[in-house]
């Protein structure tokens, strides 16, 4: 192919170059495309959350059916009926709390797998050279990666939660689940989003700090398991639940109990403490990510 033939092939671009406001969006779409290319890990990691959602929704559906089939006894009076509804609503409420606990464990696995490699793999592959030689600000870069981890988190936690609430609402007689228990639904959604935000920030920070995806995974597991063990050991030692505050998982449970669960919770400390701890952790994580990305942008 001599040079002459190239003149026709190269066609200058006549379109306009729009000032990119949403520069993070194409990067986010690309990251999602890469992550969902391999179907096996996707199936293994989201089998758990999917089962949780379906099984608990079915249980919620069942608990509302008992009322219609009736136990053959005399038609319950108004008060009796109201008491029965209340019992069923409480039953579904407890189901949601259990579902959220299970979903949390699966979410950590899924988000760790998809999130741990985000920044360190970019650095190892050298892809940041391509991104930062374009009009992509550091904030866009971080936002794209955060959104990727966040998406997987939502599928693992918010997905099952919403499914259960919808099934419960439609199956509860004239939507009393919605009218009466709406704080539970709002609480579930709020908690899921908060949980996924904190976890995404933490995982991104770990990914930014480590050299390889495998180390990032080890670090994420390390943080969760060691704080859990520490909290457990101290609580057993001091024979006081307060010491559970050392464990990250307990903070998530405390907030879950406060937003979704009933008022009495096995943890004694004021929930605002947990919100402060988790909030602080998120801010520190974002700071670490920003600092590392700053260095990535400049150093080859």
């Amino acid at each position: 192919m001599t040079a002459a033939t190239h003149t026709e092939i190269y066609r200058p671009f006549r379109g306009a170059l729009a000032p990119s406001r949403w520069a993070f969006w194409p990067l986010y779409r690309a990251q999602m495309a890469i992550a969902t290319k391999r179907k096996l890990p996707l199936f293994i990691l989201f089998f758990g959350p999917a089962m949780t959602g379906i099984v608990v929704s079915f249980l919620a559906y069942l608990s509302f059916q008992i009322e219609e089939s009736g136990s053959g006894g005399p038609l319950l009076s108004g008060a009796g009926l109201a008491a029965q509804f209340a019992a069923q609503l409480l039953e579904v409420h407890k189901l949601i709390i259990q579902a959220m606990t299970a979903a949390r464990y699966f979410a950590v696995l899924a988000m760790a797998w998809y999130g741990a490699g985000l920044i360190c793999d970019d650095r190892r592959a050298g892809a940041h050279l391509l991104y930062f030689s374009r009009p992509l600000t550091r904030f866009d870069y971080m936002l794209a990666h955060f959104a990727t981890a966040f998406t997987f988190g939502c599928f693992a936690v918010l997905g099952p939660g919403l499914l259960i609430c919808t099934v419960a609402t439609f199956n509860s007689p004239n939507f009393i689940f919605l009218t009466e228990k709406w704080p539970v639904i709002v609480g579930t959604i709020g908690y899921s989003l908060a949980f996924v935000t904190v976890l995404s920030a933490l995982i991104l920070a770990v990914s930014a700090l480590s050299k390889r995806k495998s180390y990032a995974l080890a670090a994420v597991f390390g943080v969760f398991m060691s704080t859990l063990a520490l909290g457990g050991a101290m609580a057993a030692l001091m024979r006081e639940r307060q010491w559970r505050m050392l464990s990250l998982v307990s903070h998530f449970e405390r907030v879950a109990d406060w937003w979704i669960g009933s008022s009495r919770s096995i943890f004694r400390w004021d929930p605002w403490w947990s919100v402060a701890v988790l909030g602080g952790l998120t801010l520190v994580s974002f700071a670490i990510v920003a600092w590392r990305v700053r260095r990535m942008e400049v150093v080859a």
Binding site: I9, S20, I34, P135, T137
Partner: protein, 317 residues
């Protein structure tokens, strides 16, 4: 290259200094690069990569004035706008292995500001231009070195930038791939009015594609100018390979008082006064010998490169 009216320089650096701790990567660089194809040469660690990062607005100079396509890389706003007008082809590996070529080039084009549909069409156009056919749908992890280099060039072309910064584009390529890449670079530099700044160690590549040369050494510009001027040798001599009676031919030359020295058994280096070699042909014919090769001896860029480095270091010592 007819000397067109001197347009505004694409890149102009005045007294630029960049310090990394104790190391002075750029030490008062004075440079003005005209449009067209320019080569940036220099031994390892001469500051080439630092200069590229500076031109991309990724690194702020500690001192001095820098202008790229009229933008000042130091101002953040300019820095971002600048990177829309520049296509950068990094030297090291930089391709995410799990993406395929179309995904990567279109994503990067969209980040630069093209719309979704423009990005996809431009991605395919650039990949056609670099000659990456159906492999463009396979993941980059399975690409050979040659294919990776082509994708790197394609991503730099996707948004049709007026300035291309190419860092060792032919690194790791076999002759076929290398010639194809050089044709692309030469074609871009000359046929489409793009300005190309080419960093390379392979001087034959530079000779084939660039008009101007800038030699960087330890953070300073050791030499810069049009390629032809730099390589015009002082004394005109030609290397000749002779078949037949070589000694008789040499004797004939000596009789004419033409200085010549014997490079090897059949190759002579002749300092002929004349403009062309006709006289040499005549002489060879007269002694029943014939010439198999006549090469006008310009000092090759290798030689220039080594000399420039030598005297720039002596000047500094």
């Amino acid at each position: 290259m007819t000397a067109s009216a001197p347009q505004a320089p694409v890149i102009s650096l005045r007294g630029v200094v960049k310090q990394y701790g104790a190391v002075r990567a750029l030490d008062g660089v004075e440079l003005s690069v005209a449009p067209g194809a320019t080569a940036l040469l220099g031994p390892n660690g001469a500051g080439k990569t630092t200069m590229i990062k500076l031109l991309l607005g990724l690194v702020k100079p500690d001192a001095g004035e820098a202008r790229l396509l009229g933008f000042d890389p130091r101002k953040p706003a300019d820095g971002v706008e600048l990177r829309r007008k520049v296509g950068y082809m990094p030297e090291s590996d930089c391709l995410p292995p799990q993406m395929n070529a179309v995904e990567l080039v279109s994503t990067l084009a969209r980040i630069t500001g093209l719309s979704e549909s423009d990005a996809i069409t431009r991605a395919h156009e650039s990949l056609d231009y670099v000659g990456l056919d159906e492999q463009r749908y396979r993941d980059i992890a399975q690409y050979s070195t040659g294919m990776k280099q082509r994708v790197k060039l394609a991503q730099a072309l996707a948004h049709d930038p007026p300035l291309l910064l190419l860092d060792e584009p032919t690194n790791g390529l076999d002759p076929k791939g290398r010639r194809h890449m050089l044709e692309l670079v030469a074609d871009l530099g000359h046929a489409h009015g793009k300005s190309v700044l080419l960093c390379s160690h392979l001087l034959p590549d530079v000779e084939r594609t660039c008009d101007h040369v800038v030699v960087l050494d330890r953070g300073r510009v050791a030499a810069s100018g049009a390629l032809l001027e730099l390589t015009r040798s002082q004394s005109r001599s030609s290397r000749v390979r002779v078949a037949g009676d070589v000694d008789a031919f040499a004797g004939e030359l000596a009789a004419r008082g033409i200085a010549c020295d014997r490079e090897s058994e059949r190759v002579l280096r002749i300092h002929a006064p004349g403009e062309d070699a006709d006289e040499l042909f005549g002489l060879a014919g007269s002694v029943g010998a014939h010439l198999e090769a006549v090469e006008e001896q310009r000092s090759s860029l290798d030689q220039v490169f080594l000399d420039v480095l030598k005297n720039s270091r002596e000047a500094r010592a």
